[in-house]
Symmetry: C2
Subunit: 322 residues, 2 copies
């Protein structure tokens, strides 16, 4: 067994995962990040101790994997910073945990562990090459090449949200103009809806939010589309078009077997995937398009824990082989 | 030693390459592709025989690698088609050569062998992750991940020229709109120059080509820039800007150590690379930009032969290990 931990700004999710990638039971504790890094690390350790204590044979657990938000260094095990966690700056998280439990431990960023989990036990099972794209507050992602997580030279690979879609487009938080994230994230959908309903008197969205624009969500826009709302349909089709342009580029560059989409926007299902596939077919090369499957992620909420444990397993096996 | 062959529409280049990636002597024969595939395959075999005959010990050669234009299947060794070679349709090139010489043989597309050669013995030496981009008639490329050529699921990975740069841009030969190739290839530079000189009365390009627009080349535009020509400078800076947008996206996605540019346009050297790096710095994430080197390829003309031999070596060693 391997222990997977998915450290988030709100909750710490954790669980034991078999070598075959099966999660025994998903558990969760509030992160309480306001208490600072030391207490949060203590709490992560307590989660691990809780799991270890439940095994008849504590030696059954071979390693620990932790997914954390923000940039980090895999080889030194240091979290450089974590935007959603108070006071996290250059924290040697890996060594804290490894020293406490004397078990091989790895840390990896949360987008990468989620994609690795989805590859191991979700929509990517059995594939060699897969791209995972998360359409949430931002647009993140991860890359699996030949059954391995591809981290890049500094661990920053997979930032699909910051591919330039429109060179003269909207200013992105990263400093670039026209990033995909500005057009295809859940936040982008909400922002575009908010702008559009100001001048659209026919959309049912106005009624649905009862005059309170802060109630707008990607989910609500999709419900309006399902009820035949023209504006909502237009917004989701435009998002599909923009996302399709970027995915067609990724298909020409990566020639992957699977592209797996997760996050709130992906929950629109075929209402999104249908028009998306049409755009991709028009723009990408025929041969790689014929061989790629663009699918919705399957492991909602569990991917991070499974992926963190899976990376711990791969790390342990790699170390054993080396 | 390994034998490398680089099959082109005009010439067959070939040579012996040491296990360390050193090319002994580059040779070349006309392809005479009009004679059809059978005669061309015979000729490739004759090149190989010529090299084998010069070794004191013919067993010194361990394998043969052949780079060919057009799509192919690595595992079956079949060339699906080769746009610049008459009558090439589903040709089992690998087996023809392997049967004649009873030596392990691999085939790979010409863009990939060139990038692999450049990684082994040129600008990519010592790196783990590299992207090679060729700015020639079109824009092609190849991907090295963790010291291995990344082929993708069907061997079509690395088509950087068909990333969408302007979603509503020029119609590309591939059917997509706004492909990078339409803005950053040598042909694109010549086309843009041709259009521009019609309305620009001050450029020295008009005089340089003596009224014959078919004389326009990427090299000529660069010479005009070196002589202070405003139009030529504008054209190369615009190309650098457009290429920089795409390269910034690739840096955010791949976080590579090296991006190596080859082909006619890359010969503009710092006149291209200077403004290109400025654009990349403005658009890509800071950490991966700090760690990437954007450089000119070093192995002009030899990269294909070296890379083909190198892939043969990697294949032989992989087979031996398995």
């Amino acid at each position: 067994m391997y222990i997977g931990v998915d450290l988030g700004g709100t909750n710490i999710k954790y669980g034991q995962v078999s070598a075959q990638g099966e999660l025994r039971e998903l558990r969760s504790k509030p992160t309480q990040s306001h208490e600072g890094p030391e207490r949060v690390i203590q709490r992560i350790g307590d989660c691990i101790e809780e799991l270890l204590g439940e095994n008849d044979d504590p030696n059954q657990v071979r390693g620990i994997g932790i997914g954390t938000p923000g940039p980090l260094d895999f080889s030194s095990g240091i979290v450089y910073e974590a935007p959603n966690l108070n006071g996290w700056k250059n924290i040697p998280l890996r060594d804290h945990i490894q020293n406490r439990f004397q078990l091989p431990t790895i840390i990896e960023n949360d987008a990468n562990v989620a994609v690795f989990g989805e590859w191991m036990s979700g929509s990517g099972q059995g594939s060699r090459n897969m791209l995972g794209i998360t359409l949430g507050t931002g647009v993140g992602g991860g890359i699996i090449i030949d059954g391995q997580l591809y981290r890049g030279t500094n661990g920053t690979a997979g930032e699909f949200g910051h591919m330039t879609l429109f060179p003269n487009g909207l200013l992105c938080g990263c400093g670039n103009h026209g990033c995909l994230e500005m057009y295809a994230s859940g936040s982008a959908l909400v922002r575009l809806a908010r702008e559009a309903i100001e001048t659209d008197s026919t959309t049912m969205l106005t009624k649905m939010i009862e005059g309170d624009v802060t109630r707008l969500t990607a989910h609500l826009v999709h419900i309006a589309m399902q009820n035949g709302d023209a504006l909502a349909t237009h917004l989701i089709h435009t998002l599909a078009e923009n996302l399709g342009i970027a995915i067609a580029s990724l298909i020409n560059v990566f020639n992957p077997e699977i592209i797996s989409l997760s996050g709130g926007v992906a929950n629109a299902g075929e209402d999104l995937f249908g028009p998306l596939r049409d755009v991709v077919k028009k723009r990408a090369f025929q041969r790689p398009v014929e061989h790629v499957r663009i699918v919705q992620a399957q492991l909602v909420g569990e991917a991070g824990v499974i992926g963190a444990a899976g990376l711990a397993k791969q790390y342990c096996q790699g170390s054993a082989a080396a």
